[in-house]
């Protein structure tokens, strides 16, 4: 509950954040930065949960818990993704998206 800041502003921000994430996902050339964009999306969601929880339903903490779990899962996800990307780098000596276009049609 931040005084003077209505839920709408925050939600607008998070929504922007989410779509920036998507935009980044679709446009980045580098796998790592794509990963970062994914993180952006997830964080947007996490913030969403907290805010909705605090502003609309302050009597329970479901949203907060949820955001905690999101953060944890996101961490795991990132770790896994990074390891796979490293493995890919070992094989393709590149972390560009181009390196992942051998299978198509």
């Amino acid at each position: 509950m931040i005084p003077g800041v209505s839920i709408y502003e925050i939600l607008t921000v998070t929504t922007l954040l989410f779509f920036i994430g998507i935009y980044g996902f679709v446009t980045r050339k580098n796998l790592i930065s794509i990963l970062l964009s994914v993180e952006l999306m997830l964080n947007a969601v996490a913030v969403n949960f907290v805010v909705i929880n605090k502003y609309l339903y302050p009597d329970m903490l479901q949203g907060v818990y949820f955001s905690v779990f999101i953060i944890a899962v996101a961490a795991a996800e990132t770790a896994l993704a990074i390891s796979i990307i490293i493995n890919l780098y070992r094989l393709a000596t590149s972390v560009e998206v181009k390196a992942t276009e051998t299978m198509k049609y």
């Binding site: 998507i22 679709v26 794509i34 992942t100 276009e101 198509k104």
Partner: protein, 643 residues
């Protein structure tokens, strides 16, 4: 009186056919001959016994010949409509039995000599028996459908016999032609039968040929006669269609084209099928339904019969003048004589002396069968001797083939209508009948009588007199097995005329007495003798008159020689129109359009999948984009529908 045994008359030849047919390859020639002839002899005896019993034992009951029917259901169409199988014994069927048996027996005997040494001997006799079976069945038929069934069967046996020399392309073509043309006619016949069946509710002759019912428009068989088709009562239409079937079998104009080609068959076959018996089936059919033809709508259908018959006889006679193949000449003369019979039926009345035409027609059928069979068998004997059937390659054969010569002469005189031979009486009656009822047709037939006499004697002189030809090996008289039938038939054709035919056969089954009509007889004999005389002048000695005349009437000659180009017209219709213009486009349409569309559906599916493969680009970001846009589209669609 019980005539059930007559069922054996057809069944015996059937049995023979099955025996010979199933092991055609095993049975030896002489065995086959004996079995075949024996079987037919039995049927013949039965037929004559039947005739004797029918006409003399039973005779007339209160002045009318009885009709005996033995039948059993063969197949049910509906509760009321069914096909029966059975035998119908009345004057004309008995008369036909006699004719068929006699000729068939003679031909069987003759064939034993004529076909001697042919490797298909057994097959030939099997076919002959099949034909005899079918013909008997046709003659004895109790209803339209039965007659149609055996009608088809005689057609197929004729097909088999014409194509007997199946390695000869011309024979194959002829047999095909014969079958298909008659089949085409049978299409009409069948339609007629269907119409009769539907509108009168029965196929049975006894029910159909009931004059009282036919004249009373409320009777069950005439109840629908009010319905008209192209201005005629449906019944009339049906009768005309049925006559079309008959015309096909009897080679009436314009369905006659198959008959000359049919001469490709062995000569005995031509004698049996294409001269004496099968080709007159059409006449028999009309005679069978004569009451219907006569009473329905005052015999409009009968008019058709008369004119078609009359025209055909003239048409055929003209063609016969110029042909060179002796069998074809005989074939055309057959056609013309059948035209006579049709015409006679056509102009006949019903009761008493009125029915002279009917009687005459049947009488002529009877006598004609005898002498025309004789002519063919004689011709066969000639061909057997000189191994050719072209007139130009013959001449002066009378001293080589004395018996054949005499018998042939008798037959020729008979057909030319010279008294006291059989032809004279029947032809005289026909002309008399025509004179009474239709002058135009009378004069036509009178001319035809002259023409007949002329071309017959052209043939006769051409073969047996004229200039001596050089033959590869000198011709010799045929064996007894062949000449015996000739002599027998010669005697018959000489005396058959004295049978008091009208006593036995008349439309109303009552019978009556006829006398020679002197003036008409004089006219017909006169024109006949005239024809003979001209032939004598032109062909007795080797002269060039014939060529002069033929060149004088150049194009007329060419026309008649080419049978008025009828074959060509038919060829054009079948080859050019039906095959090229109809069937071929159909085949194309099927291959390209119908099948094409089916394949198109399949191929286009595959093509689409080729086209869209790019979507699976392998770029994870494209996938993401697709994912997001998928969501967006869903949302937009939802918004569109909700608001």
């Amino acid at each position: 009186m019980d005539f059930t045994y007559t069922i054996l008359i057809p069944l015996i030849p059937l049995a023979v056919f099955l025996i010979l047919g199933i092991n055609a390859l095993k049975i030896k020639e002489n065995v086959a001959g004996i079995v075949g002839v024996g079987g037919l002899l039995a049927s013949t005896i039965l037929s004559f016994y039947t005739a004797f019993q029918y006409f003399f034992k039973v005779g007339k009951v209160d002045g009318v010949y009885q009709t005996f029917v033995e039948k059993t259901v063969w197949m049910n169409f509906t509760d009321t409509l069914a096909i029966d199988m059975g035998v119908l014994i009345d004057p004309i069927s008995v008369m036909m039995l006699v004719v068929v048996s006699t000729i068939s027996l003679m031909v069987h005997l003759y064939s034993r000599g004529y076909m001697h040494g042919d490797q298909g001997f057994t097959r030939f006799f099997a076919y002959l028996s099949l034909f005899s079976f079918s013909m008997y069945g046709l003659v004895l038929a109790t209803n339209l459908f039965q007659i149609y069934i055996f009608w088809e069967l005689v057609g197929v046996s004729s097909f088999l016999l014409i194509g007997y020399y199946y390695t000869k392309p011309s024979a194959v073509a002829a047999s095909k032609k014969a079958f298909i043309v008659t089949r085409f006619a049978d299409f009409g016949f069948l339609m007629g039968v269907l119409m009769i069946g539907y509108y009168t509710g029965t196929f049975d002759f006894m029910a159909l040929n009931n004059p009282a019912a036919l004249q009373d428009l409320s009777s069950p068989i005439m109840q629908y006669s009010g319905i008209t088709f192209m201005g005629f009562s449906v019944i009339t239409t049906a009768l005309v269609l049925i006559f079309a079937g008959g015309a096909g079998k009897s080679a009436m104009f314009p369905l006659h084209i198959w008959l000359p080609d049919a001469m490709e068959g062995p000569t005995p076959v031509s004698a049996l099928i294409h001269a004496a018996t099968m080709v007159v089936a059409g006449v028999y059919l009309v005679a069978r339904l004569f009451p219907m033809f006569y009473f329905v709508e005052d015999g409009i259908a009968l008019q058709v019969v008369a004119y078609v018959g009359g025209f055909s006889s003239l048409f055929a006679a003209l063609i016969a003048l110029t042909q060179h193949d002796i069998k074809r000449i005989l074939a055309f003369s057959t056609m013309s004589q059948i035209g006579y019979m049709m015409m006679a039926l056509g102009i006949s009345g019903y009761g008493g002396v009125e029915g002279l035409g009917f009687t005459a027609s049947m009488f002529h059928l009877f006598t004609h069968a005898m002498f025309k069979a004789l002519l063919f068998l004689g011709a066969g004997s000639v061909i057997h001797a000189v191994h050719s059937n072209v007139l130009q390659e013959m001449g002066g054969l009378r001293k080589y083939l004395p018996i054949t010569h005499i018998t042939f002469l008798i037959a020729a005189l008979a057909i030319a209508g010279v008294p006291p031979f059989a032809g004279f009486f029947s032809k005289d009656e026909i002309l008399a009948a025509a004179y009474e009822s239709n002058r135009l047709l009378f004069w036509v037939e009178w001319t035809v009588a002259g023409l007949t006499a002329f071309y017959m004697f052209r043939l006769y002189f051409g073969i047996f007199w004229g200039k001596e030809r050089v033959y590869k090996h000198t011709p010799h008289e045929s064996p007894l097995s062949m000449t015996l039938p000739l002599m027998f038939l010669a005697i018959v054709s000489a005396v058959a005329g004295f049978v008091p035919f009208s006593q036995f056969v008349s439309p109303d089954l009552a019978g009556y007495t006829t006398h020679i009509h002197m003036n008409i007889a004089a006219m017909s004999v006169g024109v006949g003798v005239l024809g003979i005389a001209i032939a004598w002048i032109m062909y007795k000695k080797e002269t060039d008159i014939a060529d002069k005349i033929s060149s004088a009437f150049g194009f007329l000659y060419k026309w008649t020689y080419n049978k008025f180009y009828f074959d060509e017209i038919y060829l054009f219709v079948t080859r050019e129109i039906i095959f090229k213009r109809i069937a071929q486009p159909f085949a194309w349409f099927d291959k390209k359009i119908v099948d094409g569309t089916m394949n198109l559906i399949g191929n286009s599916t595959v093509d689409i999948s080729k086209k869209i493969k790019g979507a699976q680009s392998g770029k994870v970001q494209d996938y993401a984009f697709a994912f997001v846009s998928g969501v967006v589209i869903m949302v937009m669609v939802f918004i569109y529908f909700m608001n």
